[in-house]
Symmetry: C2
Subunit: 225 residues, 2 copies
């Protein structure tokens, strides 16, 4: 969208009016691009030092920017942390949720969710592993707006899994009396155990074990023909 806007403007000669509009737009575009780039780096930093270690000061050091300039953007540590969670969530939706929802309902969609979720830890810009997994244990005993926000994002994601499972029941792929929330809870466990085995334990069999666990879960949920 931003790129398209720039191109169409550069095709027309600048008058005083559209010239000013163009400059305003460029400023807004630059602002949005800068903001995106800052949030990207902030997400990387948070994945290394923890979300609690992400402050306007530590981010200013990392980016070699002035603390006051960043403060103008984000206003508070909590606002920065919440925007980083949203930035990571938007990436997760783009990389995992949206492509999987294009797959046919039922088992194919559930497999796509699982495969893309497995990929997420590798492809996301998170050198310190999935931000959400680390933030969950970091924030669980720190009440406040950041924890509430993380909780809501996780609730949304568990909801996507449960809804996809429910559609699988409607399609006749999964048992009618299976519990979609239990399935989402169990699948979360498969991914957390994978994360633990892969990242802390450096276990070579982390991925095949996660796949076996997922197949066992699907197999128990599948309607017998």
């Amino acid at each position: 969208m931003i790129l398209m806007g720039i191109r169409s403007s550069t095709l027309r000669p600048l008058t005083e009016t559209n010239g000013r509009a163009f400059l305003l737009m460029m400023t807004a575009t630059k602002g949005a691009t800068t903001r995106h780039a800052v949030l990207e780096r902030a997400t990387q930093l948070a994945s290394r030092v923890g979300l609690g270690g992400l402050t306007i000061g530590s981010l200013a050091d990392e980016l070699e920017l002035s603390k006051s300039g960043l403060f103008g953007h984000f206003r508070s540590k909590e606002a920065l942390q919440i925007q980083v969670l949203d930035h990571a969530a938007a990436r997760f939706v783009e990389s995992v949720v949206r492509p999987a929802l294009r797959e046919p309902r039922g088992e194919p969609r559930m497999r796509a969710l699982f495969e893309r979720w497995l990929d997420w830890g590798r492809s996301s810009p998170m050198p310190g592993g999935c931000l959400f997994v680390a933030a969950a244990t970091e924030l669980d005993d720190r009440p406040g707006p950041v924890r509430d926000h993380l909780q809501q994002l996780q609730r949304d994601w568990l909801g996507v899994i449960a809804t996809s499972f429910r559609k699988g029941i409607e399609e006749g792929h999964f048992l009618a009396d299976a519990d979609p929330e239990q399935f989402a809870h169990d699948l979360y466990g498969v991914m957390l155990s994978y994360h633990h085995a892969h990242r802390l334990m450096r276990e070579a069999k982390a991925e095949p074990r996660a796949r076996r666990a997922f197949e066992a879960l699907l197999s128990a949920a599948r309607r017998r023909p």
Copy 2:
């Protein structure tokens, strides 16, 4: 052991020799008691602020003790963190492993391990939740002696689960071709998902869902009669 030592000494009149031995022992006892008390508080602190946030300085503030005195005990932040991990591991062995190993081999022992592991999060002196779960995501990208030590403790625990499962195969409770390491990996996932649901999500059904997941795991592993 410490209490027994003190009692038997107080029953005998003090001579110069056993008097000096008694004083030496009392000093050692006081040292051991102090050390234990300090490690207990350090474990509580680490469960709140993370193992990385546990420094000789932060512990001195918490205990209102001098930093130099604590430094004399622990020498370095890493040594303190490793001793806290060992302290928590010793408690875990006392609360979970040792009582479960008293149960009959096979399914009864596996159930005892699971039940006591579930209890661990509640009864342990960890206001911020299980130290090991939090430390795992915190340290997974921080190479060094503390991470290596945590990795070894986790490997030991996964080994206890796998060995208990193997004995269950020998007893004829579990399928002969079931994979004990896969079972340990899967059970770890059940517990991590419980921790996430219980602590971050404040999910009322966290425990019944963990129990259902455990029963499904046992049921899939059980030898058909």
